[in-house]
């Protein structure tokens, strides 16, 4: 196929043969006879240089994708790898100071050439390149320093050490803290100094207890109290309904009384729970960790504020690896904190999953049905051909157009009507008349239905005519043929279409922004509260999470690691779905290859 390496020496016959390709014969004629040394001497083929130029196209394309994946992988994974904390001392003669002191403590996250516009004339003139470089330090302690990151001129640094007893702690608020521990002040007045060998085990124990207590508080507040609140809300709506009625019948009066009674019962259940949560919260503040930040300032925090801590400069490789996986697990299973810049992304993963699932349930039957109609039932002609072109094109219509349609049609029109019909009590607060997971899923289903139709149609077309005719000849009905032969044979293609649709749906953000995705949803769309699946709820989504973190968060620098990590998760989901599509296709191909004729 890629045969000819050497063009044959131009002979008279050859030229005659080539006259049809005038251009080529001229080119061939240009070959200098002097370069020919004999009958079988290789001659440079024409245009080889340009082949290299096209090779460049492929090389760039491949380099782009591989570099991008590597970048995300490196930055996404790197977030979780524990890094050493450096104690940086500035040269006395430099005027770099950190909060008046000459020391800074933190993780060096970046070293780069300084922006020309920030350089002083002396620095530009300096013979040492290091003077024009800078280091970015993650210092944490936002509560103490006001910011978590800072840049320092690399030339001003006199000394870097890695003190062993420094602690990096994750807190409920204010992000991470990096500090030298001083002592623990117990609730009963006892004090354990950081030099004490008991200090470390005690801190570990107290932290574990605090984490366990936090879980308990969360369980009480989120689930038990949350359930009561939900019932309360419904009852209050009923209460409002009765209040609106001008003349109450006897039955109404009784029903109203029952509603009020239940409100009171719930209130009675609520009080002890709230009390218990309050007591636990009180307990969280009992023990205090006193520490010193790099500026020498002494600070303290309740151990109940701690999420976790480690000694970054004491960790072995094994310890780091364990911490690394623990942090990944934490990230995948935790709930977000502090405007999403800390904690985990579980609700976003779950929201993406549920939305994709509902979308698949909606898109699968309809897409397949439309395809069966087009391929098996409709009379092939100009109409079906134009419908096919139109559907093909819908796959290319920008997703935002589907988004605006979803908002106008599903949310405002359909949702608004549902609200007026069934949720009259709650108005003007919309129930379905605002973005929610159902509308988002349906919008994406509409967006991906052309993908499924096209894929299914192609799969149906690939089933040979012989199969159908054989089945019909055996006396099977048309539907039996489709059900038992055509559909199974085309299942790989259909599934591929579905998985591709899922991949597209999972990665899409633009339309979701209009129809119900939020940066922080208080509740998951599926939970243990009746009716378990809450289709009207707003939800979180990995893609939107990235957008929100990177562009809406107050401290985008602090959010960057989280964005990379979330990006990695999203890319994994999408790439795995795409690979799954390919694998399912291959697997089913093998399975049914024997089954079909």
């Amino acid at each position: 196929m890629f045969g000819v390496q050497y063009s044959v020496t131009p002979t008279t016959e050859h030229r005659t043969l080539n006259t049809e390709y005038g251009l080529m014969s001229t080119v061939l004629k240009q070959e200098k006879p002097s370069s020919l040394k004999g009958e079988n001497t290789p001659v440079k083929p024409v245009g080889e240089t340009y082949v290299w130029v096209t090779a460049m196209g492929l090389a760039i394309g491949l380099a782009m994708i591989l570099f991008l994946l590597a970048l995300i992988l490196y930055n996404g994974i790197g977030v979780f790898w524990p890094r050493h904390v450096a104690l940086i001392e500035f040269a006395e003669e430099s005027d770099t100071r950190f909060h008046g002191g000459t020391r800074a403590l933190g993780v060096v996250v970046l070293e780069q050439e300084r922006d020309v516009r920030d350089l002083t004339p002396e620095q530009i003139a300096s013979p040492h390149a290091v003077d024009r470089r800078e280091k970015q330090l993650f210092m944490g302690n936002r509560d103490a320093f006001g910011q978590a990151f800072a840049f320092f001129g690399a030339g001003d640094i006199a000394n870097i050490t890695y003190p062993r007893h420094v602690i990096r702690a994750e807190r409920m608020e204010w992000g991470d803290a990096i500090f030298f521990p001083l002592r623990i002040e117990r609730g009963d007045g006892r004090t354990v100094s950081a030099d004490d060998p008991e200090f470390e085990p005690l801190l570990r124990r107290l932290t574990d207890e605090a984490v366990a207590r936090r879980k308990e508080i969360n369980r009480i507040e989120r689930f038990q109290i949350g359930r009561i609140n939900l019932q309360m809300r419904d009852l209050e709506l009923e209460d409002r309904f009765f209040q609106r009625i001008e003349t109450l019948t006897e039955g109404d009066e009784q029903a109203w009384a029952r509603v009020r009674e239940r409100i009171e019962v719930l209130q009675a259940q609520y009080d002890p729970l709230a009390e218990r949560a309050g007591a636990l919260r009180e307990r969280q503040r009992a023990d205090t960790l006193v520490y010193e930040v790099v500026t020498g300032q002494e600070r303290q925090m309740p151990i109940g504020e701690l999420v976790g801590y480690y000694y970054p400069n004491q960790l072995s490789v094994i310890g780091k690896t364990r911490l690394f996986f623990a942090q990944i697990w934490h990230f995948l299973s935790g709930h977000p904190r502090e405007a999403n810049t800390e904690g985990g992304i579980f609700p976003a993963i779950f929201g993406t999953f549920v939305m994709t699932l509902i979308m698949s349930i909606a898109v699968m039957p309809f897409g397949v049905m439309a395809a069966i109609y087009l391929r098996e039932y409709a009379r092939q002609g100009p109409f079906v051909r134009s419908v096919r072109i139109a559907i093909n094109n819908l796959a290319g219509v920008p997703s935002i157009v589907f988004g605006i349609f979803g908002l106008g049609f599903f949310v405002y029109f359909v949702g608004g009507s549902i609200d007026r019909m069934f949720y009259d009590n709650a108005l003007p607060t919309p129930t379905f008349g605002t973005g929610g997971i159902l509308w988002a899923s349906l919008t994406l289903a509409l967006m991906t239905v052309p993908v499924v139709i096209v894929a299914t149609e192609e799969a149906l077309a690939a089933v040979s005519r012989g199969v159908r005719e054989g089945s019909l000849a055996c006396g099977a009905s048309k539907w039996q043929t489709i059900q038992h032969l055509v559909l199974p044979a085309s299942a790989p293609g259909i599934l591929t279409g579905l998985v591709l649709a899922m991949a597209r749906g999972a990665g899409e953000v633009a339309p979701l922004m209009l129809v119900g995705v939020v940066a922080l949803a208080p509740n998951l769309p599926i939970d243990g509260m009746f009716p378990f699946i809450h289709l009207e709820r707003k939800f979180m989504h990995l893609g939107f999470h990235i957008y929100d973190l990177g562009f809406q968060s107050p401290d985008s620098e602090a959010a960057k690691p989280m964005v990379f990590a979330t990006t990695l998760v999203l890319i994994l989901v999408v790439v795995v779905l795409n690979l799954a599509a390919i694998m399912i296709r291959n697997h089913l191909k093998k399975k049914y290859a024997a089954g079909t004729f």
């Binding site: 245009g47 209009l514 893609g543 990177g550």
Partner: protein
Amino acid sequence: MEGTEGWVDISVNGTPSKPLPERFVVAPATLWFDRFMNHFIKVGGLSIIVAVSLIFFFILLQILPLFRGARVQEYGSLPVPPGDYVLMGTDEWSELPFLLDTAGSLHFVDTVEPDGPHDRGHFVRAPAFLEEVEAAVVRYNEYQARLAYGTVDGRFAIVDVKYRPTFPDRGGREVLVNLEETPLLSIGREGVALDMIAYGDSGARKLAAAVQQVDGRYELHVVSLAQRRTLLGPGELRVDQAYDLTDYLDGEPAHVVIPSDADALLIAMQDGRVRYLHYDGRVFTERQVFQPFADLANSRIASMDFLLGDVSIVMTSVSGENRMYSIYRDPDKDMRIWGHTKTFASMDHAAAFYSAGMRNKSFLIGSGRFASLRYATTKQIRWEDELPFDIRLALLGPRYDRLLFLDAEDTLHFYDLRDPHPQAGWKTYFAKIQYEGQAEASYAWQSTGGRDDFERKLSLVPLIIGTLKGTFYAMFFALPIALMAALYTSQFLKPEIKRFVKPTMEIMASLPSVVLGFLAALWLAPIVSNAVPSVILAVVGVTVSAYTFGYVWGHLPPHIRLRLKPGYEFIVFVPVMCLAAYACWTLGPVMERTFFLVTDPSTGLQVADFRLWFPTVTGLGFEQRNAFVVGFVMGFAVIPIIFTISEDALSNVPDAFRSGSLALGASRWQTAVNIVLPTASAGIFSAIMIGLGRAVGETMIVVMATGNTPVTELNPFTGMRTLSANIAVELPEAPYLGTLYRTLFLGAFVLFLMTFIVNTVAEILRQHLREKYRAVE
């Protein structure tokens, strides 16, 4: 599957005379189910196709109201006591309008339920000072519901008509009214009646002007008013300073107006000249004299009044010409002056009545039986008609929902005005429009502003240009790479490698655009903006290196050259490319230091920085998040699409073509370019089209990686706003079914059409190509 419809029938109806053997009898359930599925699939399939095409019609339905004119319909009339009425005003809901007679009394008419149990009928209120002195002239400011009275003895007073809605127990709404008047203040010559009065009040600054006739000569006097604020509320209003501006009058003045900012005075003379006096709080200076109807035989200004916002004046000539002048900053003179901005359709006569809208830039104008509702910004006539009565007074309801007319027979006519989108129209969306305050017409998109009288600018042109700009830079970058890669993969690459290369490139297509946008904005944009020369150098360098390396390789001795089997070139090229890119990257700063020097104005030092150099040399902007970065990153989305489809097209060219060409002695490059490429050209074209469609509709990358500023330039170093990004950014804020909401739907419709047309062309080409190959094979 055609023609298989009948086969069910044979087994059902074609029963032979002999009883059917049992094994041939079809179970009724099977038949029933088959028939059911037959209909089910047909109905279901068709309805899904209909539902999908509904998108198009739904969007169309949302935008149609934008292009509808105003609907005006009379819904009632009410006789009022006969009187010599000179002006009309009303409350916000047009429920309690008043008519002012020549004596200065206000005749209120309750229109809610005439003859109903709570009807207040017709009642008269008059300011208290009218008992003391007679009114000579009255002027009404609709927007502030404020009357300025001039008396026969050279004094004036300001009367506020305070409407107040109450909600009585019986339900509904009842509008109450009372008058708040200032004491009489003197202006100009004492004891001389005022001929004209004008009043402007911005809260902090108050200005009143009066024209008096003294011994047949006209005098113009202006006073500024001051009101001291005390702890107990506003103090007494008193005359602060008096100005005699008679010198500016050279003849009889026709109109005198003061804008509500009280920073200017406009005097129209009988000969049609308008003097614009600017007031800075202390003195009046004449800034400009202009003659709006200088080109007409009779240049006299018949009517002249402000539009909402008081920065435009609508004037009519004696012959019915209707023009608008607006104040804007003149770039040459560097001061705000008036200029002719709009010419409206002429009327048959000079305007007898004029009423400016209080919600938008509309106004009601007309004379005799003729009334016309016009929208200033678009110069569009929203509605006009000959009414069946002579119009004495007319009023445009404050909520832009009512028209009130008083006819010559003392009957008040109420018209219902339905015009939800007065600003919309083809002109707004696609034509250059000179908005108030702008020195020239432009395409502008600015949908929100800080002030109440802010006018939305809704031109889609900058968005379309932004879309095309993004698409252009994306294609500029993606097209060569994708096509070269496709050509190489299909023609020169070893099939064993191709098996891995193609899915890898396809994974690129599955990257969510939000990821690309995030990387573009937070990772790439800062890097690129720091090193533009390096990037440009790297792009050129890699291309040149490919060519040079290929050339050098071709000139190597055959025993070296032939060691590389054909189809592996790109692997050899990868290190070369990396080397070239690295070299160019390091050379970039050197180039910057050599060519892109700017002198820092503050220190006088020479700084090598492309970011500063580019704006100083070209005069265009430089932003970190720019079209260049977006184009590059959008390449990730577009390259795989173009690559896959054109690679398919190239690979599908029948082998006979290629084999024939190669057998005849053409080199592989000659075969690829002269035989394969032309044959697959339609497929490649359709690939480009589909890639184009993707670039046009891309949303997240643009939202994140550009500044989202609407621009109309193609500078690669500034951002843009595309149609799709515009929807994503603005729709969450747009009120349901409002003008902006529908305009965004219009944007979506334009986007839909753009991609749909492009895709259809591509699809038809592809089908055409398929037919062609079929013929060959």
